[in-house]
Point group: D2
Chain length 350, copies 4
């Protein structure tokens, strides 16, 4: 922690300030400049995190030296994490993994059609919403438990591990039982009760960046889950909220290399939510790979025109297959191999 | 709903589009312009809300005509809502109500000192955090149940109804039992599981605007609670996230008159979180009143320098009292009277 | 300047870094922490401003200690500046000054009607656009020189000094000759060629904050004008660009107290552009006064429905007069007196 | 133009509104819904652009049907524009063009070293700043006319056409004489006096997107130049300002496919300014190509550590050469060929 004092700080104020820091168990080290004195605080910075140093008389500004995350940091964990999803799939480790499936599980037929289609096209993990966070109380809220059952069936039949969102602390065990990976949606990135609960289960977590969360806050939410015991966290950039109105959100493509530098956790991208438009999925997916993403999560629906949610941004199966055809060239340019198709519970691979 | 077509839409595409709309039970009405055709959809617009109209061939853009909120709208509820808090306090109805108290309940002594101080200065509702949403897992997380007990004691002793935050659906009944108003924090504004649960209790809800939530989204979250059965919702502007770094957040003072025009629900402002700096509390509080707010919620601590959370933005008791002295002049200029001090359960008023 | 090093900086890198700083004429002072070394650079920080310190091996981050502005800073100029406009009007010094008039000067009749109306209602400075920055090349671009002539006439007849915008370095002398104050529009806040030219004339400058300019950048643009010789600068907050779409811009009301703390220059607010809606002018004007503004600039048109620009946000004369009736109560609450009406060149005051 | 009325509009208000629209020469077409009436305005929409329709009683909202740009729109110009730069280079038309060079021209030696280095690595256009827009009046402002002379020399010697920024309307002819393309910087994107002047010269213009300019506003600034006579405009995405602080700006990679859909003008990307960090240049450059950019503009300096401006984000020559080695694989994946090296005025190509 570095403290910069006001130009007119008195000696008494300076003494009081140093006492406060030293009472927390740190040493202080002064550099007196022409206009300001700089106080370097030497020792365990976390002890100062709780102190309202800016409110102490004579203080102008306070700057942390260390990053607030530790478990999530590449500084403390040197090897990059590979997160295993189900028995065969994984995210991280130099491969490019594609997750695909419908926004919501609407019924058995559409789920199976989608699972078969995305698997054939090369996806290795199936997504599908059971509990849906909808901004309107009057919109379709998902099939809930029934959808979890259908996802488990699809997993068994198509050999794809399953990721689905959990919204409520009371549903964590249930969702963990029926799926291979639990998703925290963008709106719940700082739902700390939920994060703590996910820290207690032994299922990988897909943590989506909040609409206005900084990269550092995303890492702190990962830290929250990890500090509660679960280190299998995959981060997902899905677009941030800016002034621009031509796209639903603004894909922060720079977040990918920044995260790859800051953390050992895998980083994937959701081009469907970032652009909010089926026509933007391909260019944003390619950009994500080029910038160094470890994977993609893409919304696919057998007939987007009748989708109960997110139809505007869903690809149909032929469009998804066409997209998958173009991906290996970008992955190769970026130095990644394609993740092999899942071989789960004896299902033969096409 | 208004649909604008692409210039090159074919007759078949136009027929298909009209069939989709009419199948949902609405009539279509065409205006053919030089470059575009405009389709007005006459009937119950909510039936179209689920349709991914933009994904239908030939559609350029889709614009709703009606606001997505109904219960929260001044168009549907003409009289302004007054929300009663406890037996004597209220928010709305031409009065200016001040809520004050510590960020976190740290112990009995500090809570009682604060309650006595803010009551004497003119606050009519006590705030105090029991469960704290902290971005770091290593920060103080609040005293939890013990704090709820302390708040109930403070209410009994000082005659101030109590508002406290709830983070977890599993705690809603417990918090409702010990407090007079339940707060939804900015980070949980779109935690729909929590909003639905709060719709089922009969306690007023203080709903804080999310850091990057639009005014319309804030109203949709109120609608969510109301649609689940609880119409006692107070909205709180507390600053939004922008590019500006000189203040922690940017108080969106314009949201006050916009909300007063759009909704019948009361609107209060949190100048402590908006600025993140004790020195900004007074000017932002005055601005909020001038712009038409129904109340304020202010962080007060007996000794901010030792506060376990938000010390930088907390007022001490003398500063709060000085602020309260200046408020009536602004309230009078804005056409509001000061809410009288609470007289609760026989406690005499100073 | 404070430099924080990477944990793995080598001794050679550290030596090289210190040499670079000392070569610029500063001393270095090291604080060695557990994970990082902090280097305090003692001496004239401006000499380091040009050095790309972050690009030197071993450097993690660089933090300036001093603010980049000096002439505009309250730290260097203790007394608050009062800017005189014409012979009688002024901005700053504990008074509240109101500037009013049309967005564009459309013709002689409307300008005189507006000038007479706003003067009677209590405005002391007349605004009126001659050269208009319009985002479309097909929109009305202002009457140019003819409008300058009409403004000079209106000044002579109504006894109100005049402020008008200048867009082009080539027009600075012409505009300075015909007006009492030159406005730099939001889009030109960082048009450094124009700022430098305005530094060379002896007319006050009204500098509007750019849509996405930080408070610090606004002060740097003021510094730019001042460093070129003209210290008569008035700052204007006029709304920033955020994600919110219910208002055209977001009035950053917090900028007022922050600027009053950082600079000795007067600060006014433009509630017309901030909200982009005539109905929002009054609440935003009141909020601005409550937060400590030194004045307001308001768009007024005799018949907004036929205005050639900004009709949606212009007040008609009766609405402006009604607004002016309510302002003194807010000004008094904020500790300001109303600026007396201008008495210019023998014009009698109503 | 579509107008939506308030639910309580009177017949007189509706008549008045229709009269205003018809007086502008358009027809009106009414769709009466349950709560609102929708008025479609048929005819030349530009005639309504000046009318403050929202200020007319009974109007709730107003929505344009047509885009405000015409000359820049793909709807009006079917073939994609290829802009020729100098005698041999070009931007657009399925090739990927790389512009490279120093932020500022500091002296002859560094300019020649850079020009030789970037040419050898495959750049086909040289950038170099003569007039620099610096936020501080105390920073290096560029060598001005001397730099223009040095750029002209470098062009002659190295066979690379030259792009440089112009800040002042008075310098347009001078800069046009010494360079092959004139750059409008982000801060001047809405400097309409400058845009109009650039419309009158016959040199290509590189128009950078403003920090908080929407895609639509960028296109309107291009329209401004085009409407004044110069159709050789290249658009440049260079990062927008958001809340994220880990990068200097946020590269809006989605703007690339949106612009490619909306306009026939070429679109390039500046990864140096977008990230503000030399280490981010490569991933952002790759992402830009993958998303469909027609080119890149990259800051290169022989020794970034001593650069007089932008040293933190400049690549040295070996890093630039290494980047150029990796680009063809991404360009090929995106369906583009590399622009051949310039052969200008008899200079042999390596």
């Amino acid at each position: 922690m570095i403290i910069i004092t006001k130009p007119n700080i008195t000696d008494d104020e300076l003494d009081h300030l140093r006492e406060r820091i030293e009472a927390a168990g740190l040493h202080t080290h002064l550099s007196r400049g022409e206009h300001r004195t700089i106080i370097g605080c030497i020792g365990d910075e976390t002890r100062l995190a709780e102190l309202p140093l800016r409110s102490i008389p004579g203080v102008e500004s306070v700057m942390p030296v260390l990053k607030p995350y530790k478990l999530a940091s590449r500084e403390f964990v040197v090897n990059r994490t590979i997160v295993r999803i189900g028995e065969e799939a994984s995210i991280g480790g130099g491969q490019l993994t594609v997750i695909a499936g419908p926004c919501s599980v609407e019924n058995r037929a559409m789920l199976h059609a989608t699972a078969a289609g995305v698997r054939l096209a090369g996806a290795t993990i199936l997504r599908g919403g059971a509990f849906k966070p909808r901004s309107s109380p009057y919109s379709f809220q998902g099939l809930g438990r029934e959808a979890l059952q259908l996802l488990a069936e699809a997993r068994a039949e198509h050999g794809l591990p399953v990721v689905t969102e959990v919204l409520d602390t009371r549903d964590v065990d249930l969702v963990a039982e029926h799926s291979d990976m639990l998703q925290v949606g963008a709106r719940n990135m700082q739902n700390y009760a939920l994060l703590a609960e996910l820290g207690r289960v032994q299922r990988p977590v897909l943590l989506k960046r909040g609409l206005s969360a900084t990269i550092s806050e995303l890492l702190m939410s990962a830290e929250y889950i990890m500090a509660h015991g679960n280190h299998n966290v995959v981060l997902c950039e899905r677009g941030i909220r800016t002034f621009e109105r031509a796209t639903r959100n603004t894909l922060d493509v720079s977040a990918i290399p920044v995260l790859q530098r800051e953390t050992h956790l895998p980083v994937i991208v959701d081009p469907s939510h970032a652009g909010g438009d089926a026509k933007l999925v391909a260019p944003l997916a390619f950009a994500a790979i080029a910038a160094g993403a470890d994977g993609l999560i893409i919304e696919v629906h057998p007939n987007p025109e009748v989708a109960l949610s997110d139809g505007d941004q869903s690809l149909d199966i032929p469009s998804f297959a066409a997209l998958m055809q173009r991906i290996p060239a970008f992955a190769a340019a970026a130095g990644r191999t394609m993740s092999p198709r899942a071989v789960l519970r004896g299902v033969a691979v096409a």
